[in-house]
Amino acid sequence: MLEKLQEYVTPKTIPEAIRLLRAQPRGSAVAINGSIDVHWPRLQNARRFVDTSRLGLSYIRETKTHLKIGAATPIEDIVQSKACARFAGGLLREAALTLVSPMRRCETSVAALIINVARTIDLLPALMALDGSVVVHGTSKRSLALRDLFAGKGRTVLDRELLLEVVIPKPKAKTGTALERHALTPSDAPMLMTAVTVRTARGKVEQATIAVGGGLLFPMRALKLEKEIKGKPVDMGVFACIAHGVGDHIQPINDARCSADHRREVCRVLVRRALTRAAGLGDAR
């Protein structure tokens, strides 16, 4: 395990951490928060681990307009946080709880899930549905929408940049949220999952976001369908039509759990249910 690892450094400041990350070729220095997961291939080739757990990046802060989650915040803190419980109808807390092991929640940070594009828990699609973005620092500080971050299986577009925090705008009034997942057991990786938000006014959809994950190489937003649903009546027939479109739009994987075709069908069902619930039309099961 980790046979190439030659250095384990624990910087005390953010500039020092960035310097230590950037002093190595791409892929050779990896920021971790102390815990590792054998399913994350990027760790195997690392020569230097930069432990970011002592940079003061573990926090959850609520401002008037945003919720900010530090990159080193353990998933368990999201579960325990009162701010997260009331934010966006508890969507983040519900998604965080899909990492069912309290031990895993205590040791795994938000950054670890994002950087390794973790597919087994529902937090990334939930953050994407809420229009979350990340603040990263490499040569300079920049903000990047989560929907533009992922580049492939276990890969992001970041190049030796340190993830500092996740920023989520507060949803506007009358925004409903819902998370739906299909898995063999509550603790199993989902065959597919979706997180949606729907804002309605005068019987019409003002805005909706639809994020899908779990059974894809990386989570994605159905931006085309989100445009399409805008202005349409709050109606289960409309939601079924949009959900069908999302099923066509995604590129699911084939694996031991189920086929890509089955995932498309599951996606159509889950998105329809989630839109219906988020729009306040009740449980569509």
């Binding site: 046979e3 997961d37 092991s101 205590c106």
Partner: protein
């Protein structure tokens, strides 16, 4: 074919079950590797990939899977293993309840379950059965004896609450 240089060694300073310790280890090892090598056999080798919960320990008061946490990360931290929960003749209420209920069958998963249960009762002294099940969701018992385990945790919670109430009453007098 090139062979990677062996990972350098380091000195790790930790407190284990209340005792200050210094261990020498390669820096690519997990804290599980270190504890097992140093004779803490109550930290069990189940799957080594973070799926089974057998290697659970407390790190600075929070439960973690020892197989998934790098040893250098634990520098200066406090570790509590199952053996540190109580002593012979002075067992933790959870340990007593597990004995009373026969909640350990082969006993392999028990140390991890005790750690997970301790964290639950630290956070929530009066858990419901569903909350107990949720708290133990990361611990696999291949003997499948979950019913007795849940009974034992519920019983320990009751006894711990009773004890606390007793202390309060005496203090009031």
């Amino acid at each position: 074919m090139t062979v990677a240089a062996p990972s350098p060694t380091m000195e790790l300073h930790v407190k284990v079950n209340g005792e200050s310790k210094t261990f020498t280890t390669s820096l690519n090892k997990s804290i599980f590797d270190v504890l097992r090598a140093e004779g803490y056999v109550d930290v069990k080798n189940g799957c080594l990939v973070g799926d089974c919960g057998s290697c659970a320990i407390m790190l600075d008061g929070r439960p973690i899977l020892a197989c998934c946490v790098m040893a250098p990360h634990c520098e200066g931290m406090e570790i509590l293993t199952c053996a540190g929960l109580g002593r012979a003749g002075d067992l933790h209420p959870l340990q007593t309840a597990f004995l009373d209920h026969g909640a350990a069958q082969c006993g392999f998963c028990t140390p991890g379950i005790l750690i997970a249960a301790k964290y639950l009762l630290d956070q929530n002294p009066k858990p419901t059965d569903d909350e107990i099940r949720a708290a133990l969701a990361g611990n696999l018992c291949r003997c499948t004896g979950y019913v007795k385990i849940i009974d034992a945790v519920r019983d320990a919670a009751k006894k711990m609450n009773g004890k606390k109430k007793g202390v309060t009453k005496r203090a009031k007098r």
